[in-house]
């Protein structure tokens, strides 16, 4: 299969179970959003998928090949993580120069061009860059690598709004040009909501949802109206969340709205709101 296949991955750090029997199938050529609250296991999963960490159980395959100690599989992936894994004394320009050692399609010219565009000083040591510029540097490496799989963990950490917008544009251009597979792991969901095609929500190391963004949004709705009418309407519905503002009650509901009284109004939820309500609901049900 072309794509990423994750089979029953479990990973424990001391007493903490970071991933608990996670299984996913991510066909190639899509932009995925890997969402989850802090400590959900997103980074751990991406680290295991790139052979940086070993799973306690399970296996991960890229294009049918195991990622464990397999240069052929891991060579197809560029993982941009929040950690800086570049040598302390390495300068940006050397990293650009050496990019083609590891990624045959690495475009040094494009990397230098993007660096100039974002005013990234290529003569600086990577460790001396600010958080935002470190993110920019790693994003440039990812985009210029031309790797068929780009895993981006908190890609816009420390970037200002202007640079975030430009970077999303660059990522979309890269996707349009190459049809690469991207996994975006981020907490800034509203900004990537328009980019991602499918989302995976991890919660406490388990897969809570995997669905196409359109299907997920179409499978939920928000409804608001007077409390009395709402109580009657919601009686037989699968309610994720309710909130009262004076006499007005709003609710996020799973499923189709069906017939409802004229006094109520229905709208589609935002992806970020839905994410918050799905994860909160899970926590409520656990407690």
């Amino acid at each position: 299969m072309k794509g990423l296949e994750i089979k029953n991955i479990t990973k424990t750090f001391g007493r903490t179970k970071a991933l608990d029997n996670v299984s996913l199938v991510l066909p190639a050529g899509k932009i995925y959003g890997l969402l989850g609250r802090n400590g959900a296991g997103k980074s751990t999963l991406l680290h295991i998928a790139t052979n940086r960490l070993f799973a306690d159980q399970g296996a991960i395959f890229i294009d049918g090949e195991t990622v464990v100690e397999n240069d052929s599989a891991t060579g197809k992936v560029y993982l941009m993580s929040t950690q800086n894994l570049y040598p302390e004394n390495m300068k940006v320009k050397r990293a650009f120069k050496e990019g083609k050692f590891f990624y045959p399609g690495f475009d040094e010219g494009a990397a230098c061009q993007m660096a100039a565009e974002f005013k990234l000083d290529t003569g600086k040591k990577i460790k001396n860059l600010s958080t935002g510029y470190q993110s920019l540097f790693k994003l440039i490496m990812a985009i210029a690598s031309n790797a068929p799989y780009l895993f981006l963990d908190e890609p816009v950490l420390g970037l200002d709004a202007n640079n975030r917008k430009s970077i999303y544009q660059k990522l979309l251009e890269k996707y349009a040009q190459t049809g690469c597979t991207m996994i975006l792991s981020t907490h800034i969901i509203e900004e990537v909501a328009g980019m991602i095609e499918e989302i995976i929500i991890l919660h406490d190391g388990k897969v809570l949802r995997q669905a196409a963004v359109e299907d997920l949004l179409a499978g939920h709705y928000q409804i608001a109206g007077p409390e009395e009418a709402m109580q009657a309407y919601l009686a037989d519905k699968s309610v994720l969340h309710t909130q009262t503002f004076g006499q007005l009650l709003t609710a996020t509901v799973e499923g189709e709205p069906g017939p409802y009284p004229d006094s109520l109004s229905v709208s589609r939820p935002e992806l970020q709101d839905l994410f918050i309500e799905i994860t909160n609901e899970k926590e409520r049900s656990q407690s």
Binding site: R52, N70, F102
Partner: protein
């Protein structure tokens, strides 16, 4: 296994480092020679017995430090670029072997040059490889093997030490030196003091090593196999340590 990218990275890294090292060393050698010549010409060295370490001895320390610096940063960087632990280890073996062979040749040439130059002005040279040369009808070959052994061992021992410390947790990092130097070494000393087993074994190995090139190479191979084998055992399950969410 795709070792070419990792080899290119290591080759670039070590070429730059070696050029700096030998550049500085040659510069120092020339400065020393000039100073010695000046002192001999204008003041006379008289009865002063000055001995300078041979280049091969200095290179051994350089390669030990290079070995110490050849793990953590490279491990992170190569993992970032999709290179597996196995490929990293194999390429380091190749790089270490090439470094030992290459520096062996350069060191012999520089040693000879330095020996002639310094002797001409009355200075002496301490050559550490003199202590570990196998008996042979070919002194130059014997010296070369000795230098390669020292340089290669220094690099791989440095690599093993840095790998051990990377794999240990904080408590382990404290307990290991205490265990080795505070318990193991004194215990072995006491044991040897009463039994002489270790002294006798060491003498037997030394005699065997010096008996010929083949025995020397055999011991060298066993030693390197133990050092690199331990290194691989520790590197094969190494992971990125920083906390991940």
């Amino acid at each position: 296994m795709n070792g070419k990218p990792a080899l290119r990275y290591h080759a670039t890294d070590f070429c730059i480092s070696l050029l700096w090292y030998y550049g500085i060393l040659i510069g120092l050698g020339i400065a020393l020679f000039a100073l010695g010549t000046y002192l001999a010409a204008y003041h006379g060295l008289g009865e002063v017995d000055v001995e300078i370490a041979a280049v091969s001895g200095i290179t051994m320390f350089y390669l030990f430090v290079a070995g110490l610096n050849s793990y953590k940063a490279d491990f992170f960087y190569l993992l970032q670029n999709g290179i597996s632990r196995r490929t990293q280890f194999v390429t380091l073996l190749i790089v270490g072997a090439v470094l030992a062979l290459l520096t062996g040749v350069i060191d012999l040439l520089l040693d000879e040059l330095m020996l002639q130059a310094l002797r001409s002005i009355g200075l002496g040279v301490i050559d550490m490889s003199d202590f570990v040369q196998p008996a042979s009808a070919f002194p130059l070959l014997s010296k070369y093997i000795g230098v390669v052994f020292l340089n290669g061992s220094a690099f791989f021992v440095g690599l093993l030490i840095t790998t051990v410390f990377y794999r240990l947790n904080t408590l382990g990092k404290i307990l290991l030196p205490i265990g080795v130097f505070g318990l193991l070494v004194p215990a072995l000393s006491f044991y040897d003091h009463y039994t002489k087993h270790l002294t006798n074994a060491s003498r037997a190995i030394d005699t065997f090593v010096r008996s010929g090139i083949l025995s020397y190479l055999l011991i060298y191979a066993v030693f390197l196999l133990i050092v690199t084998g331990l290194t691989w055992l520790l590197q094969r399950r190494a992971q990125i340590k920083s906390p991940v969410s």
